[in-house]
């Protein structure tokens, strides 16, 4: 699904923030991505959701060399990827329903087509009663569940989560982890970036450990 071969990344003319990355992500797998702050976790995720391109090396995503992708190809690739951020990135003027439905709406689908799916997913993540609430009135946990729901509503093959438990308490972090595990069990590949060792100890999954831009893999 994802292959990195000698991938390096630098911003502008600066030194490399990621160096000589070599790894593969298989379909249906679950990986933790960890490392100290500033190790390059977010940069690596940005490479994976095509917000950045490698400065060198070969990166294949869904069996396509990303160096050959044109701008017009990016939306189709991104629709196969769900992304969850620590800061949620919900649109404040849209309701929970509208935020979660955003991938469908931006794909030009009519509300009749996806209304049922969105309502079902809202129930599944425990936000059935907050369907018409704006993000401003949601708690941190509810916002994160809404963000996760938005990421998975279009059935992505790959789910990337960047510190999704960073803004929630440990109890809720465990609930969110179970949500990711359940999505993985249903077939989605998950890469969960975190530096919460307690959280990682709760699920036996390979760890991609970044340190000063280089990666070690602990199976």
């Amino acid at each position: 699904m994802i292959t990195f071969e000698n991938v390096g990344l630098r911003y502008g003319m600066g030194s490399e923030v990621l160096s000589d990355l070599n790894f593969q992500i298989e379909p249906g797998s679950f990986h933790f991505l960890t490392g100290p702050s500033g190790a390059g976790k977010t940069s690596l995720l940005r490479l994976m959701y095509l917000a950045l391109r490698p400065s060198r090396g070969i990166m294949n995503l869904f069996e396509q060399d990303v160096s050959g992708l044109k701008r017009r190809d990016l939306p189709d690739i991104r629709r196969r990827i769900g992304i969850v951020f620590q800061e949620f990135r919900l649109l404040d003027h849209l309701t929970t329903f509208e935020n979660i439905a955003l991938p469908f709406r931006s794909a030009g689908r009519e509300v009749e087509d996806y209304y049922g799916d969105v309502v079902e997913l809202l129930e599944w993540v425990g936000l059935g009663g907050k369907m018409h609430a704006l993000p401003a009135v949601l708690s941190g946990g509810e916002k994160q569940r809404a963000a996760i729901a938005r990421a998975v509503i279009a059935q992505p093959e790959l789910l990337l989560a960047d510190e999704p438990t960073g803004n929630v308490d440990p109890q809720l972090a465990r609930r969110l982890l179970r949500l990711f595990m359940e999505l993985n069990r249903l077939g989605t590949s998950v890469i969960l970036a975190t530096h919460d060792l307690t959280l990682m100890d709760q699920f036996d999954a390979p760890r991609l450990v970044l340190d000063q831009g280089r990666m070690r893999i602990y199976e």
Binding site: R79, Y115, H132
Partner: protein, 322 residues
């Protein structure tokens, strides 16, 4: 990979198709209108629309006057009979009329009576002038056939040879100058019209870029959920189309009111003695169906230009590597 169905199986709730009255059916715009449309921009576009409408009115008035002068060239000429020692005024008139009425291409040739001559001279000599004491030439007004006018040079030569003191005045020299002046006004008005639209387009480009910058977070989220640039551009375009239509209607309405008031005021003035000369130049100033259709056309043009400009600006902005 059929997760939603599997997820759905976990819930017992049976969902029917949504109705238009269901909450959540009508969705808020993805790009909030308040962050795109600023009052200042609406005002600027409305003002630009108003100026464009006024420029159009200038073009139409100048064009209509030019056409009228052109028609005057081809329809009416005069013969002046200056006093001559060799021949009496009556004989001058008889000979000239004989020649004119026998010339192919002339519909009618009639002597101008004293009232008509007095009206013509009134702007220069006043209404109390004693014309008997002045060497005022006699005048013959000639209507010519528009399709087959007479040979003016040959006619002038015949008149000057047969009638001492007779001068054929086909007004061509002055009317050609007026026509040229009219054309220049049309071109200036057209130039103003294009300039105003260019300024409006530039305003919309700046406003669109500002709007995309303001909404950068939303645009990034849209990118991340797989929205195509055409979709994102369409979201901005919709706002600018509505704004352009509203601003255009405001500007167009303002222009119609201004044209109506101007027409009323100018009509009154043209029918006074002071406005008589202007009336000769402009005719009865009126903004007819063409002018109002033009205003409506400009309103839609402004709306479409706003929408298309914003769409192109968003595409360009996104292409610069947001």
């Amino acid at each position: 990979m059929n997760k939603p169905r599997k997820i759905a199986a976990k819930t017992t709730k049976v969902l029917s198709a949504p109705k238009r009255t269901d909450p959540g059916y009508a969705q808020a715009p993805i790009i909030p209108a308040d962050s795109v449309v600023r009052r200042a921009l609406v005002f600027v576009i409305a003002a630009m629309c108003l100026l464009a409408c006024l420029a159009l009115a200038i073009v139409l008035t100048a064009h209509r006057s030019t056409e009228r002068w052109a028609a005057a060239i081809s329809e009416e000429i005069t013969v002046q009979l200056a006093p001559s020692d060799a021949i009496t005024r009556e004989e001058q008139m008889t000979r000239a009329l004989e020649i004119l009425r026998g010339t192919p291409g002339i519909d009618r040739a009639n002597p101008a009576d004293e009232v008509e001559i007095r009206e013509l001279l009134e702007p220069w000599l006043g209404s109390d002038a004693d014309l008997e004491a002045l060497p005022v030439p006699a005048m013959i007004v000639i209507d010519i056939q528009r399709g087959s006018p007479p040979d003016m040079e040959a006619l002038a030569l015949r008149l000057s040879q047969a009638v001492p003191g007779a001068v054929l005045d086909d007004h061509r020299f002055w009317l050609e100058r007026l026509r040229t002046g009219g054309r220049i006004v049309v071109w200036i008005g057209g130039g103003l019209f294009v300039l105003v639209l260019c300024v409006m387009v530039a305003c919309v480009v700046f406003a669109t870029r500002a709007a995309v910058s303001t909404n950068r977070d939303i645009v990034e989220v849209l990118h991340l959920v797989g929205a195509r640039e055409s979709f994102i551009a369409g979201e901005f375009q919709r706002h600018f189309l509505v704004m352009g239509l509203k601003a255009g209607m405001a500007g167009g309405a303002g222009a119609i009111v201004m044209l109506f008031v101007t027409e009323m005021a100018v009509r009154r003035w043209l029918h006074t003695g002071e406005g008589a000369n202007a009336r000769l130049l402009l005719g009865d100033l009126s903004f007819d169906f063409v002018a109002f259709a033009g205003v409506i056309g400009i309103v839609f043009l402004v709306a479409i230009l706003s929408a298309v400009t914003s769409r192109l600006a968003v595409h360009r902005f996104l292409g610069e590597g947001l």
